[in-house]
């Protein structure tokens, strides 16, 4: 046997182990990647399974009934659904113009040296854990609303003929409006960072042409930048909406946990996530099943909202570590 054939044989052996290891490695990686799919699918299926008694037992009545009565063991989800929708809507109504202003300031108005530190400051709002928003909301912001904002709204907007009912009520501080404002502060960094990112993708030539024709900064922002980035901006708003719908800790403390349905935004309410957080550990049997069913509803709704958001944002350049 010659020397050359020996080395060839040993090489072939190594090739074979290399190929086997490569295949193993590839399968291990693919398995881990598929775990991401499994997590989402599992979250949907497990909450569907956990809430099956209520979801399949009561069907539509579970969604439309406003009666949530653990004593009589009857559960209707309308009050928490209403609270989730109203607080998220308030949050969006407040956060979208604020975020647009911030993005406009950081891309067109602020001097260059100011942009990075202020941008970091706004992003810090997203790094604060939601439990701290909740504590601050309950101990600081609720008394502030009760002392200053609620009486003012009741005396001014509350007197108006049509929208007056929205702003009438005792100055509790707690309630749908307070929760909506806290949520707005929480989602501003997400919406504004998407807006800021897409505003920077607008070709400079386009903006300069508008400026050369004599446009003001506002006209460039409103007539050039916004139409150019419309799709991604809507995506960013949906991303914020998805966050607001699912947020738990910040709203649980400031909503007041009341199942009554009222037209006034100054009155306490409840939301899907705060009902689950407040009651889950004391619940048993059908009550627990109803809460898990609420979780299923929340998951499906946020999944759809986030799906729309990501679909609209898919053209965006991805940046590291950002939500």
């Amino acid at each position: 046997m010659s020397v050359a054939s020996v080395t060839l044989d040993s090489n072939r052996g190594r090739d074979r182990t290399d190929a086997r290891n490569d295949a193993l490695f590839r399968w291990a990686l693919r398995f881990c990647a598929l775990l991401v799919l499994a997590a989402l699918l599992g979250a949907a299926l497990s909450t569907l399974w956990g809430g099956r008694e209520v979801l399949f037992g009561d069907g539509w009545r579970f969604l439309t009934s406003a009666q949530w009565n653990p004593v009589e063991n009857r559960y209707g989800a309308w009050a928490p659904i209403y609270g989730t929708l109203v607080t998220s809507l308030i949050a969006i109504v407040i956060a979208v113009p604020l975020s647009f202003g911030i993005a406009l300031f950081l891309t067109e108005i602020a001097p260059a040296w100011l942009r990075a530190p202020i941008g970091t400051g706004i992003e810090l709002l997203a790094a604060i854990p939601s439990i701290i928003y909740g504590m601050w909301g309950l101990f600081v912001f609720v008394p502030f609303m009760a002392a200053h904002v609620d009486p003012l709204l009741d005396a001014s907007l509350g007197r108006l003929p049509w929208i007056g009912t929205l702003f009438q009520g005792p100055p509790l501080g707690l309630g749908l409006l307070t929760a909506g404002i806290v949520l707005a502060v929480m989602i501003v960094p997400f919406i504004s960072s998407v807006m800021r990112e897409v505003f920077q993708t607008v070709p400079v030539r386009l903006k300069e042409s508008a400026y050369a024709l004599g446009s003001t900064t506002w006209e460039v922002a409103w007539d050039i930048v916004l139409p150019y980035t419309r799709q991604a901006v809507i995506g960013g708003i949906f991303l914020g909406l998805g966050r607001a719908l699912g947020e738990t800790m910040a709203v649980t403390f400031v909503l007041g946990n009341a199942y009554g349905l009222t037209a006034s935004l100054l009155m306490p309410g409840t939301s899907i996530s705060s009902s689950i957080a407040n009651e889950f550990n004391e619940a048993a049997g059908l009550h627990r099943s109803a809460l898990i069913a609420l979780g299923f509803l929340l998951f499906v709704v946020t999944f759809i909202v986030l799906l729309i958001a990501r679909w609209m944002l898919r053209s965006l350049q991805r940046k590291a570590g950002k939500a």
């Binding site: 490569d22 604020l98 202003g101 602020a110 709002l125 854990p129 504590m135 986030l306």
Partner: protein, 289 residues
């Protein structure tokens, strides 16, 4: 005529700029307000007993068991999510960069990133806590392990996404050079690419830790809480966020003070991690240029 139009446009422009600046100031004011209240109220209750006494003493106690519990649960969570996340990210970057499966996983990973954390808590309750209760006839119900699995699900998408992006940034010449030397692909990925993207991947892990260490909702029905010191992964375990939640819901103002101190600890930890992640990332960037 033309001057009137000009003046109106000018006024509108000024108003818009003022409003935009005011919006930025308002957001920053909220940031300062929240941080200020957390720091000033938290500092008042920080003392030696916060770190030495457990929550069983209530308003005479501290948060020692919650701090230890958070450390254990967070460490287990990151130990679970980091390897899985890095491997999943490597799959996306190295094997599925432009396949349909890769695009789908990336898309769904982004959704998992913003999924409501309380639902992930319910998910782990149904798949871990309930089966474990049934298997042990109720001797083990809520557990630190279940809590860390729930938190791992929060951190996982952050790590997957950063790893994927950082590996994609590694120049393909490095891959070609290594492959032309006959290195098998697994060795190339582990020993060349992950080393080149190391600081970026570490940034992702740190950001994931920052994110999951502040989460409360998923812990409530998984790790539950415990007024005494616990070390076993199958025991109910206290954690800082859950203890803060419990104390905030209590009418006793002395407990609120302890809760603020706990909130300050979490805030400092999260901010320090975010800063560390930034410096690691910045240093990694310069060394490769």
């Amino acid at each position: 005529m033309s001057t009137r139009i000009h003046r109106r446009r000018h006024a509108k422009n000024i108003a818009a700029q003022v409003l935009a600046s005011a919006a930025t100031l308002l957001a920053l004011a909220f940031l300062v307000w929240i941080l200020w209240e957390t720091i000033s109220r938290g500092l008042q209750a920080i003392g030696i007993s916060l770190f030495t006494k457990i929550t069983a003493y209530a308003d005479q106690g501290g948060l020692a068991n919650a701090i230890v519990g958070s450390a254990i649960i967070d460490a287990m969570a990151i130990a679970l999510s980091a390897p899985i996340g890095v491997m999943a990210g490597a799959y996306l970057a190295e094997y599925a960069r432009s396949t349909r499966l890769g695009a789908t996983i990336r898309f769904l990973n982004d959704i998992l990133l913003s999924a409501p954390s309380i639902v992930l808590g319910l998910f782990v309750y149904v798949i871990v806590v309930l089966p474990m209760t049934a298997a042990t006839n109720g001797t083990t119900t809520f557990s630190a392990l279940a809590g860390s699995i729930a938190l791992a699900l929060i951190g996982l998408p952050v790590i997957v996404r950063t790893t994927d992006e950082m590996l994609q940034l590694v120049p393909s010449t490095l891959r070609e050079a290594a492959l032309s030397l006959g290195i098998p692909q697994w060795k190339l990925t582990v020993q060349v690419l992950m080393r080149a993207a190391g600081s970026g991947i570490l940034t992702g892990v740190l950001l994931a830790l920052a994110r999951l260490s502040g989460e409360t909702a998923p812990l409530l029905f998984t790790a539950f809480g415990n007024n005494y010191m616990a070390f076993g992964p199958l025991e109910k375990m206290a954690s800082l966020p859950a203890a803060i939640y419990q104390y905030t819901n209590d009418p006793n103002p002395a407990l609120h003070a302890i809760a603020w101190a706990g909130a300050l600890l979490i805030a400092l930890f999260v901010l320090a991690l975010s800063l560390l992640a930034r410096t690691v990332f910045a240093r990694g960037k310069t060394s490769h240029d």
